[in-house]
Amino acid sequence: MAERILDRTNDEWLAALQGAGEAQAPALDDLKERLQRGIFYYLSRERSDLSSLSSHELEQMSEDMAQDATLRVLNNLDSFRGDSMFTTWATRIAVRVAISDLRRARYKDFSLDNIMADGDFLPASANPLMGERPLSPERVTERNEVLGKIRAALSEVLTDRQFRALYAYAVQGVSLDVIAEELDTNRNALYKLIHDARQKLRIYFENQGLSMDYLINLFGES
């Protein structure tokens, strides 16, 4: 049985992982075990959304993620530039694999088709009876005018694709990875799409004289 080597230099990791079966197998095992321990620590200590899972279930989950991450590392060895410890680089890849898996599981039933038309999610009108004390008629009118401007901005400034992506991301909190799959694009292109939408809306609002402080104050007061 090959000897286990837990600490390797970068060159030793690369040589072993790029080597033939006898040298590669123990390095793969060591890498997977190391990544699995890190992922398990993260899942069990930092993810309150997984607190209902048993330790055994978290172990299984981290083992599956570490397996995928190890393969991802193996397939991307050529892109390692030696600008960090090899295991630090591998951990970065494992984190992406683990978090992407968690996001896909969380939003497995998500569909962009279920997002309503532009602006429909906004309150129909300012409710004068909401809050601790009734709003003045002038304030209700002001709120309704601004709601109309926001509704107009969402429908006129954004494309349908931008609106749905922005709504899913900002209001529903859906992961970029998941939305990107739905839109048949990649995460970076989607980030750019949403970034452009945010900037267009910000410019539109600023041109209308609507600042964040003003809006928060207008709709936040009771």
């Binding site: 630090t88 494992a94 970029l176």
Partner: protein, 84 residues
């Protein structure tokens, strides 16, 4: 305040300017920066563009937090296997 309205307002006004870092660049820099971060360097001082990206991209922030969590745990021996 209506929760959906608040989220839309916040996401619009917290976006950063054109030319800042994108998601892949942010992700690809994490391992390179670790040796500085583990010695106490502030991301906002050594790579302001990355800090700006993290401030307005919750996905990259989640990955950054997970990465630093695991690396710190390894550093402190919290992920080490039990001694035989």
């Amino acid at each position: 305040m209506d929760e959906k309205l608040r989220k839309i307002i916040e996401v619009i006004f917290t976006t950063h300017e054109e030319g800042e870092m994108d998601c892949p660049t942010c992700h690809e820099n994490l391992h390179r920066l670790w040796s500085l971060v583990e010695n106490g360097a502030e991301i906002s001082e050594i790579v302001p563009a990355l800090a700006a990206h993290l401030a307005c991209c919750p996905e990259c922030k989640e990955e950054y937090d997970a990465f630093t969590c695991i690396m710190r745990a390894e550093q402190q021996g919290l992920t080490s296997p039990p001694e035989a």
